[in-house]
């Protein structure tokens, strides 16, 4: 990992068209936080890293229930399915 020290209003440039700027520095010690401003092309996704962990956690929760009854009930509950039964495909 490349480690650089930047102060308030200083920036880092990454590749073509990506800029990360220190917009504000708040607090001290453990509670300190840095506010970053990010310029990136539309085609580049910018995410807080925790989002990946949150998605992984949600995926684990989403592992399908083993019970066939729950699944059958889920299918029966779908309002669009009830309407769709009488409509031609």
């Amino acid at each position: 990992m490349l480690v650089l020290t930047r102060g308030l209003d200083q920036s880092i440039l990454i590749g073509d068209g990506i800029e990360i700027k220190i917009v504000a520095i708040k607090g001290t010690g453990d509670g300190a936080a840095v506010r970053l401003g990010i310029e990136a092309p539309r085609n580049v996704r910018v995410l807080r890293k925790e989002v990946l962990d949150e998605v992984a956690r949600e995926n684990r929760t989403a592992q399908a229930p083993a019970s066939a009854e729950t699944l059958e009930a889920l299918l029966a509950q779908a309002p669009w399915a009830k309407e769709g039964e009488n409509k031609p495909k």
Binding site: R42, N43, V44, R45, V46, L47, V51, L52, E54, V55, A56, R57, E58, N59, R60, T61, A62, Q63, A64, P65, A66, A68, T70, L71, A73, L74, L75, Q77, A78, P79, W80, A81, G84, E85
Partner: protein, 150 residues
């Protein structure tokens, strides 16, 4: 190929039905091969995504437009390229559903849907980056609303 699954018993999967997820799913990066299984009610809008590498691993998928008709996402080039699609028109978007004990509280992950290219048999879980897309978007009406209409 034949697959032993905990939910469906033995499944016979023709090679051409296998979906490849080169990057797996978040938290399941080693699961690269899946098959879409009809839940027996094709109009329900729900499918199973059954792992070929782990017979116990399956997910419920739903077409988000069925309950969120305004759902829109911009897929970035890298995600489209990963499934061999030149535009979003060549891909299908499905959301992973979390089904709790009370199935009426089922939620879909609209923040990280699956992008599937049916022609190339490739898929990828993408993160839309849109803050209005929820990890847990209710699939059905809130139970109290449902109760009021009975």
């Amino acid at each position: 190929m034949e697959l032993q699954t905990s939910r469906f018993g033995t499944l016979t999967v023709p090679d051409e039905k296998v979906l490849g997820f080169p990057d797996g799913l978040y938290g399941f990066e080693e699961s690269r091969q899946f098959v879409l299984v009809d839940l027996g009610r094709p109009d329900s809008g729900f499918f199973w995504l059954q792992s070929l590498e782990d017979g116990d691993l399956a997910f419920v998928l739903v077409n988000p437009l069925l309950f969120a008709p305004d759902y829109e996402l911009d897929a970035i080039e890298e995600d489209l390229a990963a499934v061999g699609a030149s535009t979003l028109d060549h891909a299908v978007v499905m959301a992973l559903v979390s089904v709790p004990e009370d199935f009426r509280l089922a939620t879909a992950n609209l923040q990280a849907p699956l992008l599937i290219n049916p022609d190339r048999r490739l898929g990828r879980q993408i993160i839309t980056g849109n803050p209005s897309h929820s990890l847990k978007s209710p699939v059905f009406m809130a139970p109290q609303t449902a109760a009021a209409t009975r």
